[in-house]
Structures are given as structure tokens and as C-alpha cells.
Symmetry: C2
Subunit: 359 residues, 2 copies
């Protein structure tokens, strides 16, 4: 029997998506072969790939000025590849750092950009979001980069920052598709698939075509986003299984009522869990400033860390999986991506109440 899977990523997929993938794994459509065994340039795969993009565009209302790319390498590769493609040598790029992933993005950028930390909440141990008016943004910067949701610290932006004419670049790996978002406000959005989209090994990118055409330095074709765009993400063989599962997930999201419906559910799920934490008289604790709390990743500690082992063992026995927190913050973490139903959160809340009574 499947458990309630709170993994931060690779994370739970919608069960309906998994069941369909299972059913058609040996024979996909009329292909007489698995979707993994057909040419990415064949009619059947191309039709599927185009439908996936069309569904994504519909879900996020992506403007025609933006390209949608299905890439590889994880978000981490694009920490490096974005400055490769968008910055002239040493050109300033501004980074707003609100957690571990933002820190990594800066480090990977320094070879190609004058990566500048325009704002950081490190002093608060990443429990806050620095007010926009404190950001040191240069009008000549190649872009402003931020991480709308930090999975380890459980910190999320609940509005899109205004960066004027400087293009906004967002690592949306952990909250893409969790609610409607005004894509027209962004220059470039990218996301590793393994949280809200599909399996690991796939990266989704949504970017204004003009940005992709900057081409500030000589690069091999394979590192150049403009080449991937010109080839409709088939410059070389894409991750075909990942693209297919992403397409199933996009369709599932449409069947659920789209991103407005997902936002209502995700808010309900997060509210239920934060209420249980805040209402526990200090037995459980989440350190994040309430206005910056993430709906996707809820880290929490127990009042006595000596109980952590018992909590993890008993929750696992109860079918509540992968609740161990990241070592950087300790304690527990419950990730509540789209594929987690409210029933799973209710089961967790019930378990937490019961655990606190018994221990």
C-alpha cells in the first residue's frame, strides 16, 4: 500500500498519473512500444510533446513572447547556464538570497557573471524575506535572480517583486504550478521537475525569447538556450519519459480545475498544518516569519529533539513517509506539493496530535 509521501524531492506524483503511466508503460498509444522506446522526432512523440506545451501554456497563461523549453541537468546546471547565456563576461547580475538554493545559485554563477548579493536574509537564518526597498539592485544588471520558494528553510514569496526594467529570473523548482502566477512579470522562470512536475532529470524553462537571444559569449550549441528554442527542445534527445510524465501531470492539473483550484487546496493543506503547529502550545514549532511561510515545505521542530527519532519511526509506521528535516535546520519537514491530497495532511495532523499526547 502506498504511503502519504512528504518527500521534498524527488517528490510524490499524482497517483492517477502513476497509474496511467503504469498501464501504458509497455505499449504507449498505438506505438506498439513504450513511450521510452520511440523516436523523439516521430509523429506520435512530437504530438504528445506539443500537447504538453500547449497544456502548460494554458495552465500558466504563458504569453506568446515566451518560449517554453524542456531541458536537462537539474536546476543546478541552470544556476551556471543562465549567466552563461544572459551575462557578458563579469557583467553584474543581482541575486536575492533567501535560503540554501539561492546561495548555491550565486556560487555557480561567479565564473560567468559579476554575481552580486543584492539582498540576503542569512542574518535571520533564512526565516524572513528582505523587504524590497532594502534590495541593492543595479539598473544595468543582466537580471535579478531569486528563489520564490526555498525548500529547506520553508520560506516563500507570496507576491512577485518589482524589479523595474531589470529582467526577473526565478528558480521556481518548488512552487511552480502550485498557484496562478503572472508569467508576464518574469524574464525567465526555470524549475527542476521533481517536485511539482514529474520525475527528476527534466528542467522546465519559460523565458522571453528576446532574453534567450542575448548570446553574450561564444558557447557550444548545446549550452545555448537560443539553439534549444530554435530546435523546439530537440537539439539533442530530450528526457522523453520526463516530458511524457510532465504532460500527464499538466493534463491532471487541468482536470483538477487548474491552478486556481490548486491554490485553494494548497492553502487549505498548509493552513491545516501550520494551525496544528501553532496550536500545539510549543510542542511543535516553525521558525519562519508568518508572512513568509511556505505552502509547499513546512519545516518544524519538536520541543525536545530527543523525541525526533521516535517521531520519525512512529510516523513511518503510520504510513507518513519522508518527514525527516534537512540537516541544515534539523527536526522535521513536510512537503505539501500538488500531488499531496488534503487527506494526507489530515493524517499527519492527527498523528502529530496523538504523538504529542503520548510523548
Amino acid at each position: 500500500m502506498r504511503g502519504w509521501n512528504f518527500s521534498a524531492g524527488p517528490a510524490a506524483l499524482p497517483e492517477a498519473v502513476l497509474r496511467q503511466a503504469q498501464e501504458e508503460l509497455p505499449e504507449w498509444g498505438g506505438a506498439r512500444a513504450s513511450v521510452m522506446e520511440v523516436s523523439h522526432r516521430g509523429k506520435a512523440f512530437v504530438a504528445m510533446a506539443q500537447q504538453a506545451e500547449a497544456d502548460l501554456r494554458e495552465l500558466l497563461d504563458v504569453p506568446p513572447s515566451c518560449r517554453v523549453l524542456f531541458l536537462q541537468g537539474g536546476a543546478t546546471q541552470h544556476f551556471a547556464q543562465i549567466p552563461m547565456n544572459l551575462c557578458a563576461d563579469g557583467q553584474r547580475a543581482d541575486y536575492v538570497v533567501t535560503g540554501h538554493w539561492g546561495e548555491k545559485a550565486v556560487k555557480e554563477a561567479v565564473v560567468y557573471a559579476g554575481a552580486h548579493v543584492a539582498a540576503s536574509s542569512a542574518a535571520s537564518k533564512y526565516t524572513t524575506i528582505p523587504p524590497r526597498e532594502t534590495w541593492d539592485i543595479d539598473s544595468g544588471a543582466a537580471y535579478v535572480h531569486y528563489t520564490p520558494n526555498e525548500t529547506i528553510h520553508g520560506v516563500e514569496f507570496h507576491s512577485i517583486p518589482d524589479t523595474g526594467d531589470v529582467p526577473l529570473v526565478a528558480d521556481m523548482s518548488s512552487d511552480i504550478l502550485s498557484r496562478p502566477v503572472d508569467v508576464s512579470r518574469f524574464g525567465l522562470i526555470y524549475a527542476g521537475a521533481q517536485k511539482n512536475i514529474g520525475p527528476s532529470g527534466l528542467v522546465l524553462m519559460i523565458a522571453r525569447d528576446e532574453l534567450l537571444q542575448r548570446n553574450p559569449r561564444p558557447l557550444p550549441k548545446i549550452f545555448r538556450y537560443a539553439e534549444h528554442a530554435a530546435a523546439d527542445s530537440m537539439l539533442n534527445t530530450p528526457n522523453t519519459w520526463g516530458w511524457y510524465l510532465a504532460g500527464l501531470t499538466f493534463r491532471w492539473l487541468k482536470e483538477q480545475g487548474g491552478l486556481g483550484a490548486m491554490e485553494r487546496r494548497n492553502r487549505e493543506k498548509a493552513d491545516a498544518l501550520y494551525a496544528a503547529i501553532d496550536g500545539s502550545d510549543g510542542y511543535y514549532r516553525n521558525p519562519v516569519e508568518p508572512s513568509a511561510r511556505s505552502r509547499m515545505n513546512v519545516p518544524f521542530t519538536l520541543h525536545d529533539a530527543a523525541l525526533d527519532a521516535a517521531f520519525l519511526e512512529e510516523s513511518e509506521d503510520a504510513g507518513l513517509l519522508a518527514l525527516k528535516g534537512h540537516r541544515a535546520v534539523g527536526g522535521m519537514r513536510a512537503s505539501l506539493y500538488n500531488a499531496m491530497p488534503i487527506e494526507g495532511v489530515r493524517a499527519l495532523v492527527e498523528f502529530m496530535r496523538d504523538f504529542s499526547r503520548r510523548h
Copy 2:
């Protein structure tokens, strides 16, 4: 019903592997989740990943001085990333070009290396392999790169060239694991998975650790092979589904009797098809010099190209899939990777005889 799938890649997977993946797709082992839904750093996934590497090492008798990496980006990304990691700026690297993929490898390398075509069979339209004594290899070159099997032209090396002290780098995407190979003769072997290993989106690399430590230029960590090696290929989230399927394939290869057994089968399959072509009195024709013919990819033309459409339509109706040749050479192509059983080749040969009688 599944067809006989002659796709050049993404290519057929062993049916036993697909059936197992299907069975355990929603619940993998005792995980109560799909293998796609668990942390790559969790005990269960790490144990699977290590077993996959151990099985591969056993199959290929990989020396302890070599690292095995599970990467992303397709072989094409590594056309660029290999010179990034192995060449000082502009340092000479020698390329032996025997087809389309070798050509691409040179083009992607030029930004980081003094990529030098040491030998080419372009003049023969890539139907031959240039004799070793004609290669213009520099003893100070960073490496010599070649493509043991060219999928489009159907040209394969049947012995490993001697490059003395210059490390040999091989894009083995399309014949890795098709026969035993002396890994100790190579500096670095890499292969896109989607032909003889697993699904697309995974790249296997086997490389001498000392080569990976060259680090000739500043690079983001994510582009540095030494960092991937130090992190056991978990520098960032790997393609977990691809790694898992590769592991199933490695186990399947061991059950088949290992690479010696695969070589016997692959030779039998290729011999049967070439015999049918050569014995057709010119009805079918393969242009490759016999000693350089590939056991993996067999391109062939019909004596009258006007029959191509009928051949493709009728073969597809007969359950013989994906026989259309690459536009660069025209005609047909049958790819006979490990997952294609001799029965599929017999069905193709029978169809070819019947077709030639009828047309």
C-alpha cells in the same frame, strides 16, 4: 501487441526490464512509493544505485582506477563538457571522425579546445575507417576522441586503436555493452543511455580518476566531472528513473550470460541481416566496407528508391517498426541493440525476402 522495434534511439528496452518496471512502478520494493518519488539520498535508492554500479563494473570489468558516473545532458552535452574538463584553453585535442556524431563532437569542442581532425573518412562518405597509420596524432594532445560506432552511417570499429600515451576518449553511446571491451585501454568512455542502457536523459561515463582531476580552467561545480565523482554522481538530483532502469538492464545482461553472450548474439543477428542484404542480388545494398560494418546499426537501400514508401508501410503493418533510414543516407536502417532478439531479425529477413519477391 508489441512490435519488433528497430529504432536507432531512443531504442527498444529488454521486455523483461519493462515488465518489471511496470509491475513496481507505483510501489518500489518496500518504499510504499514509486522509485521516482523517493529521495536519491535515501538508503533504498543509494543501495540500488550502488548495485547498478557494481553490476556495470562486473559486466565491463572496470578497473579500480576508473570512476563510474551517472550524468545528464545526453552525449551531446559531453561533446562540450569533455574539452571543458580535459583541455587547457586552446590545447590541442585530436578527433577521428567516421560519421555524423564525430563531426558534431568536433564542432561542440572548438570553444574550449584546439579541436583537430586527426583523421576523417568523409571522402568515402563515411563508409570506411581510416587506417591507424594515417592518423595525425600529436603526443601533446589532451586526448584522442573517436566514435566506436556511428549510428547513422553504420560504421563500427572492431578493435581499439592504439594511441600510445595520449588518453583515448570514446563516445560509446551506440555499442557500449554490446560485447566485452578492455576498459583499461581508455581514458574516458561515455554513452547516452537511450540505445543499449536505458531511457534517454541519462549519460553513463567511465573514466580514469586522474583524468577527471585535470581541472584546467575555472568552472562552476556542476560542470566539473571531479565534483560529480566526489559526490558519487549525486552532486545534484540525478535522473533517478534512468539510473533505476539502467540498473535493471545491467542485471538483465548478467542473467543473459554477460557481454560474451551478448557479443555472440549480436554477431549472429548482424550476420543474418548482412547475409540477407548481400545475398539479395543487389535488391538490397549496404554501402559500408565489410570490415567496418556495424553490428548495431545496419543501413540499407532498396535497388529502387521508389519502393521505399511501400517497404516502410508494409514492414510497419507486419509489426517491424522504425525502419526508416536517416535522411543523411536515405533508405532503411535496422538497429539491432542488445534488446532486439534474434527472432526480430529473422522476422525482418523473412519480410525482406518476401517483399523482394512481391516487388
